[in-house]
Each structure stands twice: as structure tokens, then as C-alpha cells.
């Protein structure tokens, strides 16, 4: 069964990509947040700049924080954003 994931972006990640979300098909072997980020980094210049240094990014899978090793499992939404700066 083809899996897909809705990826949503915030703050400068959103601005630099020029989109606030996209649906990404997950090929076999894409199992973790880190795998998705690698997939995004391989898309070319604009994406590579942003996703080749995942240490600058934070991730939430179905609205809970995750790290590169977190399995995607049956999640439907992955949010990618810079460290938070509210308050």
C-alpha cells in the first residue's frame, strides 16, 4: 500500500520553501523522521539548503515532538520548523 505523509512547515522553513505544506509519498524504506528529511534534502538546491542540517530543525509527528530516529509509523502529519521562540 502506498503511504503518504502531510508535511507542514513553519517560520523561516515555510518562508524559504515558499509553501506551508505538501503531501509526500513515502517509498519503501522511508521509516523514520530522519529518512523523510534525507528525502527532502535530496530534492535539490532550495530544499538541500534547509534540510541538509537537521540540527537546526525541530520535528513534530502528529503534534508530538520527535527526533530523527522517531519512526513515522501510521502518523499522518509531520511538522518541520525552527526552534520555538514564543513567550
Amino acid at each position: 500500500m502506498a503511504r503518504s505523509l502531510n508535511i507542514i512547515y513553519f517560520a523561516w522553513v515555510r518562508e524559504r520553501l515558499g509553501i506551508d505544506q505538501e503531501e509526500v509519498a513515502l517509498a519503501d524504506g522511508i521509516e523514520t523522521i530522519g529518512d523523510v528529511v534525507t528525502l527532502l534534502a535530496e530534492r535539490g538546491a532550495g530544499y538541500a539548503d534547509i534540510f541538509s542540517d537537521p540540527g537546526k530543525l525541530r520535528f513534530a509527528l502528529d503534534q508530538d515532538y520527535g527526533i530523527a530516529a522517531t519512526p513515522i509509523g501510521s502518523a499522518s502529519e509531520l511538522a518541520i520548523f525552527p526552534p520555538v521562540t514564543g513567550g
Binding site: 513553519f10 502529519e77 520548523f81 521562540t85 514564543g86 513567550g87
Partner: protein, 147 residues
């Protein structure tokens, strides 16, 4: 009692204080964060992740209620465009004990700064815009709590 509110609306400190006081206890601590004038700030744009913000703030409030003897925790955070002097955030905690109220209020702010999905973008008087970066001091402040 937990009260969480996120939106563009300003808050009413007197009404929010009465609400917390109404839960009893006699000790009410609060923190208000406002847009600070650091010389040439024109405005601040506050973005958030609507599907996650309420969940993240509720989790912080629940942690505070489980770690301190509290009657009430209120967290209100504004989003959208704000100018110097505008309110950004209000945290109120109510307890029988002043230490519990004050410590938990500090805990909620420290956690909020590092885990609640808000982002601030500054626009300067000359039109230059910049996303604010995380501060090491905020990470250290959040790290001092065991939870």
C-alpha cells in the same frame, strides 16, 4: 483547573486574576510578557502551529498541576501582529502556598519558551525583518527543572 487560550485577542489581567482567585488558595503568581522596545522595533509577528499549540500548553499546565499543589493554571498566548507594549503572554498560577504559585509560574514560562510551537518575526523601523533565534539562556532555564 486549567485554562488555555491562544489567539489574536488581548487578555484582561483583572478578569483572569479573578478567575484564578475564584478557585481558592490565596496565593496567586503571574507573569506577563510584552513586546519590548529595544530601540527600533516596528512590529512583531507571532506564528504558531494551531493543531499542536493547545496540546503543548495543556501538557505544560498538567505537568505544573502534578508537580505543585495548585488550584489553577492559566496560560494565554497571543498570535498575529503585535507592536511595542502589547501583551504577548500571561501565565497565572493559584495555590495555598506562595512558593508553589511562584515556582510553578516560572516553570510554565521556562517550558513554554522551549516547547510551545510559537515563532516570532521582528520587523525593524527600516523594514528589515528577521526570525528570532532561540536563546541559550532559555534552554538552560528549561533544563533546570527535573521534568
Amino acid at each position: 483547573m486549567i485554562r488555555i487560550a491562544v489567539g489574536p485577542e488581548d487578555f484582561d489581567i483583572a478578569a483572569e486574576t479573578r478567575r484564578v482567585a475564584g478557585r481558592g488558595g490565596g496565593a496567586i503568581a503571574s507573569f506577563i510578557g510584552q513586546v519590548r522596545d529595544d530601540g527600533n522595533l516596528a512590529s512583531l509577528e507571532l506564528e504558531h502551529y494551531p493543531a499542536m499549540t493547545g496540546k503543548a500548553l495543556t501538557a505544560i499546565a498538567e505537568q505544573a498541576l502534578s508537580d505543585w499543589p495548585l488550584h489553577a493554571v492559566t496560560i494565554i498566548h497571543r498570535v498575529g501582529k503585535l507592536v511595542v507594549g502589547d501583551n504577548i503572554v500571561l501565565v497565572l498560577t493559584g495555590s495555598d502556598h506562595r512558593e508553589a504559585a511562584m515556582e510553578s509560574c516560572s516553570f510554565v514560562m521556562d517550558k513554554l519558551k522551549t516547547v510551545a510551537p510559537f515563532w516570532k518575526k521582528e520587523t525593524r523601523a527600516d523594514g528589515a525583518a528577521k526570525w528570532i533565534e532561540e536563546r541559550q539562556s532559555d534552554i538552560e532555564a528549561a533544563g533546570k527543572w527535573k521534568n
